[in-house]
């Protein structure tokens, strides 16, 4: 073969190869490689469906908060003690005896950021849907923005400076992002809540089927809470509270008629206008189960994991409005639960408490060691070693009288309620020195009336005493065991006073020690560092730009 032939031949090869490849490309090029599973949604198909958008938002809600946070957080404060808080680890935090690697810190941090991711994914993608009305999408965005703000607010509450995530971030961004100064976080929270409030319906505008969704009122109330927690924004608190109290376009709110019903009466619990935001549950289908660790053992609890402290019990005033230590209060240390704020009985189970199941005969709860009559169940008695209470007190608040199997309750758990708004307003006014009879009659008085106080000395505007203390005590009693106390003692900067030394229980102990009041747990609070939690060390190892809070550097 000569050179030319060879050349021709190679040319043929190439030409033929080229034709071949082209033919193959034609044949195979038709084969789609963008395949999506037919039995689950992917990003390619998900957002086009209205139902999916709704479902995703529901999923954002499902990450809003949790029952154990609502109920056990008070065990980090002087309101309660949790003796075997395996999962929540609130006992370790309350004791001050923890390492920065405590899993609760990591879990808490991770929980809020998981909630933020869900909200951000929703916000980043919702507009891919073109079939939902724009107004609906705007409302939904408002709900998601509230929840994103809620998580940032909680992060700021525990850690101060935290990374602010205004949209979904990538893995690499997560490794680099820095903590924003607390002020910036706050501003983000406030701005987001304003934006949410601007588009959200108020509580009367939602259809019945949407009850439980976030309202304009909820956004304003959370804004008030965020401002209140600052301590130096009281005038702003007043402004926001007044928007809620005076402008019906922001919602129609009222206290429920009965304090106990608010938590335990299914109808009131779910329908009262007092509830501004509540975790939504449905009997049997979506439930929470903390009661099994709260109520007296004889009622069917497996153990007690939240025991109210003597310190909390002591702060409930007398029916006559006086504190137990005030002269003329009528308080009897040997009959300590008589003539007390009726909210004590609605919240805490004490020795010889009359447990009302609703329907069946009352059961007397004997807690004092050795006091149970023969033939009755002595499991409720206080013992340093038993499954029962560690303080001599059990919990009544949150009790579900329908007594569902396994205590898995379908009652809602309130996150923001009208009473809190009234208390915020009262506190802001008091701290501004503007607590007047008019303000009192709009705030503390209706709360006490609803609680069951009847004596004028308890209901009327007090002419003496430390108004700040009165308001704070009112707040502690009204919101007891709902998770507010740990926030309050931190923002009031009194934690080093109330979280140092022993948390006490009822007077069943050695009379020579602490006047016989049980020592439930030794606590220590270092104001130099404990006002903020440590950034989880694992997190800092993975993102070296994250700085550590004071006192936790290693």
């Amino acid at each position: 073969m000569n050179k030319t032939q060879h050349h021709m031949c190679m040319k043929n090869i190439f030409r033929n190869s080229f034709l071949m490849v082209s033919a193959v490309l034609l044949v195979t090029g038709c084969k789609k490689l963008d395949l999506a599973p037919s039995d689950r949604y992917t990003e390619l198909t998900f957002w086009q469906s209205d139902m999916n958008v709704n479902n995703f938002l529901t999923n954002v809600y499902s990450n809003l908060y949790s029952s154990d946070r609502v109920i056990f957080n008070d065990a980090m404060s002087d309101n309660a003690h949790s003796k075997t808080a395996v999962s929540t680890q609130v006992d370790a935090i309350a004791s001050g005896n923890f390492t920065i690697a405590l899993e609760r810190f990591r879990n808490e941090w991770s929980f809020y950021y998981q909630g933020i991711k869900k909200a951000n994914i929703f916000l980043d993608n919702v507009d891919k849907n073109t079939t939902l009305p724009e107004a609906t999408r705007n409302r939904m965005k408002g709900e998601a923005r509230f929840i994103r703000a809620w998580h940032h607010f909680n992060l700021m509450k525990w850690w101060g400076d935290v990374p602010v995530l205004r949209s979904d971030i990538s893995e690499d961004e997560a490794k680099e992002i820095t903590r924003s100064p607390r002020a910036e976080v706050l501003q983000f929270v406030l701005d987001e809540l304003d934006a949410a409030a601007a588009v959200l319906p108020n509580n009367t505008q939602y259809a019945a089927a949407d009850r439980g969704r976030i309202t304009k009122g909820a956004a304003l109330a959370l804004k008030a809470r965020a401002l209140l927690y600052e301590g130096n924004r009281m005038a702003d608190v007043v402004t926001v509270c007044e928007q809620l109290m005076n402008d019906p376009s922001n919602g129609t709110f009222a206290l429920a008629g009965n304090y106990n019903d608010l938590f335990s009466n299914a109808n009131v619990n779910k329908n009262t206008n007092e509830s501004i935001l509540a975790l939504q549950y449905v009997p049997q289908l979506r439930t929470w189960g903390e009661n099994i660790d709260l109520v007296p053992i004889s009622i069917g609890a497996r153990t007690n994991n939240l025991s109210p402290t003597q310190e909390l019990v002591n702060d409930y005033i007398m029916l006559n409005g006086k504190t137990i230590n005030e002269s003329g209060s009528g308080y009897d240390e040997n009959n300590p639960y008589a003539n007390r704020d009726p909210r004590l009985e609605a919240t805490i189970v004490y020795d010889r408490y009359n447990w009302n199941e609703g329907g069946s005969p009352d059961q007397v709860i004997y807690i004092k060691p050795g006091s149970t009559p023969n033939g009755q169940n002595a499991a409720n008695e206080y013992s340093a070693a038993g499954q029962g209470t560690s303080t001599g007190y059990y919990v009544r608040k949150f009790w579900d009288p329908s007594n569902p199997p396994g205590f898995n309750s379908g009652l809602n758990l309130h996150l923001i309620r009208w009473a809190e708004v009234l208390l915020m307003y009262a506190e802001a006014k008091a701290s501004l020195g503007q607590m007047t009879e008019e303000v009192w009659n709009k705030t503390i008085r209706p709360l006490r009336e609803r609680a069951g106080f009847t004596e004028a000395s308890a209901l009327n505007f007090p002419t003496s005493g430390d108004m700040m203390q009165i308001v704070r005590r009112e707040r502690r009693a009204e919101l007891a065991l709902e998770g507010f106390r740990i926030d309050d003692i931190r923002r009031w900067r009194i934690a080093e006073n109330v979280l140092n030394g022993y948390a006490h229980g009822a007077r069943f102990g050695d009379p020579s020690v602490d006047n016989g009041y049980i020592r439930a747990q030794l606590r220590a609070f270092d104001p130099g560092k404990h006002y903020l939690w440590p950034i989880p060390p694992n997190e800092r190892a993975r993102n070296t730009n994250l700085t550590q809070n004071n006192g936790y550097e290693q």
Partner: protein, 1162 residues
Amino acid sequence: MKNAMQRSSLRLRGYALTGACAMYLLLLNVYPLQAQLAYSAPVKKYNYFQEKDYRITLQVKNEKLQSILDKIEKKSRFVFVYSNDEINTDQKVTFSVKDKELTDALAELLTPLRINYEMMKDKIILRPANKPNTPLAAGSSGAATTIEGAATAQQRADTLITGRVVDDKGLGLGNISVQLKGTAIGTTTNGEGNFTLRIPDDRKNGVLVVSSVGYIQQEVSITGSQLLAVTLVPDSKDLGEVVVVGYGTQRRISVTGAVDAVGRQAVEGRPVVNVSQALQGQSPNLIIQQNNFEPGQGMNINIRGLGTLGSNTPLVVIDGIPGGDLNLLNPNDIESVSVLKDAGTAAIYGSRSANGVILVTTRKGKKNAKPSVTYNGIYGIQSPRVTYEPVHAWENAYYKNESLANSGLPPAFTPEQIQEFARRGDGDWRVDNIVKDAAQQTHNISVTGGGANNTYMLSVGMMEQKNNFVGDYGYKRYNIRLNHSYDIGKLKLNTIMAYTKVDNTDHSFSAGTLLVDASRVPLYYSFRDSAGNYLTNPVSAQFNPKAILENGGYRKYDNDEIFGNITAEYQVFKDLKIRGVFGGTVRANQMRGRRMQLNFLPGGVYGDDREVRNENYKQLFTNVQLLAEYDKKIGDHDIKVLVGGTNESSKQQWSRMAFRFADPQLGIPTSESVFDPNNFGPDGTNADNGGRPATIETSLNSLLGRLAYSYNDKYFIEGNFRYDGSSNFLKANRWGFFPSVAAAWRFSEEMFMSYVKDYIGDFKLRASYGVLGNQNVDAYQYQTFFVNQQNAYAFGGNPATGAAFDLGNPNLTWEKAATFNVGIDASLLNRRLEVSFDYFDKTTRDILFTREDIPDLFGVGGSLPDYNVAKVRNRGWEIRASYNLPGKLISQTFSVNLADNLNELLQLTYGANERTVRKEEFELLRRVGHPITVYYGYKRDGYFQTPDDINKYPKFANSTVVPGDIKFSDRNGDGVINDQDKYILGNPFPRYTFGFTYTAAIKGFDVVLFIQGVGKRDAMIRGEQVEPFHFGYGGTMYRHQTDYWTPTNPDAKYPRLAEAGSASNTNNYRTGSDLYLFDASYVRLKNVQIGYTLPTAISSKAGIKKARLYLTGQNLVTLTKLSFLDPEITEFDNRTSFNAGANSARAYFLPVFYGFGLDLTF
């Protein structure tokens, strides 16, 4: 030898040619015979010409022979002389020669037409090839042809030589070349192996060269005897041998990469139940392991060990179509298996080649062969190899008392009770009583043959392996296959249709649990009472395994597979072929399961949910290929080009339905029946499918190519590539390019090596490098899923459905394995000894694993997707040697292979260099610098023997030890045993795997021995087989545990007896130490065959061409240090993944097979 090589290339690749006789081999088979017998002699034109080596170029397409002859006449000035009655000059012919000698050109033109020619001066005389003046041996089919092509000595008086060529088993061999040495005079044998050759008288003392592809060439002197008998011995390593490679075949000589060919001998006569089992030990570093031996179980297949943390399963390609299932193939249908090990050979499979490729080619018929009917059958009995034995009841009671006493507890049995046990004897609750001997049989009938234009191979086979468990369970497989080819001019069609049915009846429970319940009950108890009731006892209080096996229900698998492949090959012109392939598989599997309620005495119940279940799986797999092959030989330069494009698409669907509380007799729903809400997972996926979706679709588009160049069969260089686009990745990461280059040098061909070549043998050096891919990723994994969650939240008092997301990683991409291979092939001692050695070094990067460097604030908690983060290096070597020892009385072959591989984790993930996972007592560890997965725990350092020992020697904090308890090695010497003292205890993956085959043939007898084994493997085994009275769950001791520590047996194998919960037991048995580590190396006599082939003289009377009877046995002898568990069993899948269980000891027993077989050919 050179001729042989060229012949093979001719035969299979249609090369340009120089050896005439090879030409005949090729063409005789291809073209039809059109002969007429009447003779008359019209004489054609005359022309004078004297040049002997006249050269001719001619190209005609579909022209009458007449016109071609005319053209040659014009060009050459020869005239053709022939009879029109004998020679059909109207037949149309396509013919092309370029610059060829006239004689060669004529041979090329006329031989296919079965026309002989003679040149006489200026004439060329044409005659039909099988004219009676060419004598044929008796019984000849007429297919044998005398070739007298060369223009030498034709006019002299001839001597007629006849003879027969047979293989080592005495069977006649067709198509064998018989050539008079030093001349071009030769012929080929017919289908029965007979040949006739007319040679010049003056050469009648010459030498005949008998040769064929795949056989060792023989030279036979022509002596006085004119009936020659020649026996050809197969030569698997013939340099002319053809090896199946990706999308084509290659001459063995031109192979540049690491490819092993396993032939039919791997399945012949062996009672193997599937192809995977047949391949074990046949190719070095083809590592096959099992989790248990229950019929129908799959196997772990690895080529060259572990290179990735994900799947290490090689790609299986059956008859050119990827994605086949070796377990569904009839082993008897296999012609050859090629194992592609390195980048040089595997890169053409691109993204799925990193784990190697197994290419299976099934048998085909031959052209111009009369139908040949073959029957192969094996029948035999499998015996379960029970490897452990509980102690007698009375002994057990005695040991239990000792264990209790050692733990400070009162005895459980009084001396009277123990005496009573001894007097009464043992109960029958032992594992031996839930297994039995069971039959296994295979029967295959095949018909092969072909006409002038077609070939066929029809085979029908059945295999039945009864289950060794009591009850009536077993696995049956039926195979039908039709491989058919047909030539239509330049178009060759090949169709393959195969159908497989699997019919497997399994018990309704887990084999592991049945075995453990049957084996850890002491012999105080029996399965049934005298009234026949099934019993339970305090150790197995819930279930009676014998009852479950005998009456507890079943799982019936009914699986079908249809495989089809249609290939059309078109010869565009001489050097270029285009091939289109459409192939695919349909699989439809069904499982019906039922659990029957069984009530035991005194308590316990099985199957009280009376579940009835139906599971379905369906897959459609299609593969379209369009390929072009260009082969060109120019002088000593040989160029081959292959380019092509393919698509592979698969769609799989699962479904499952079950209801509970069915009618106890009929298994149909009643009013109390409940539909099982867990049929599908909560997120709409099939719960039985590991949470993956119930529908999976994938598609792969590819371009591929190969360019091979060789010079003078001495230097070879080859490049392969594949460019793959997969639906498993996002568009931007979808396409991957996987190239390889390889080169080989037959250095013994160099001039300066002629001494070596002549006196020592052939040598070839090979090297290859390439980047292979691993598409080791689930479909859709790059996409974020949204899955519905019930009751995620509530609005308006009603529960609301949420849509959770399952984050994908859009950046997912291929794993890439950079693979280097170097090898040497040597052929020594006149090619009786063949040796190959390969060394490989493969580094796989971008291996999928989770990340540990992403902060939680990313927001998905612990459910991060997989990322391309890990890196593994895997190195090893393999050696193969075979030796043929022909002899007058006995001919023998020896072949051996040995291999090793060892991987090293170079990088685990971002943010972490190690990870451990606890497996009951011990741990599995992944740590950079060590093999992918290793066992992790404490090392023992003898026993505490004295109180002094106890004071001095380090212990766990707070542990109380006594003499007879284990001392653990204080690795860091800090005086206390804790986590810091753990060692890497062992590597669970086999090393130094080997196989050895010996065959011998003595007259009609033949012997095959096959030995397989593993030189090094560590196995951590826990449970009742190691710990006496295991953890309180087990109630027995086994014979092998009785060597325990006592003051008088201070060097015992096991520590002192003590109860679970005691300080001793906690120290000794709850601590993951090398107490649980065992040496699982073994040597196993896998197969022995002793056969006898009836002399043809006898068998032919019954119309049988060949009859062979043989005895065959499998797994006959095992040498191992691991006495109480089968050393072949592993708890791992083929990636030594963290998901492995820790209870490999509870595996179905190895069946030992004894049987006989019969091969008949008609």
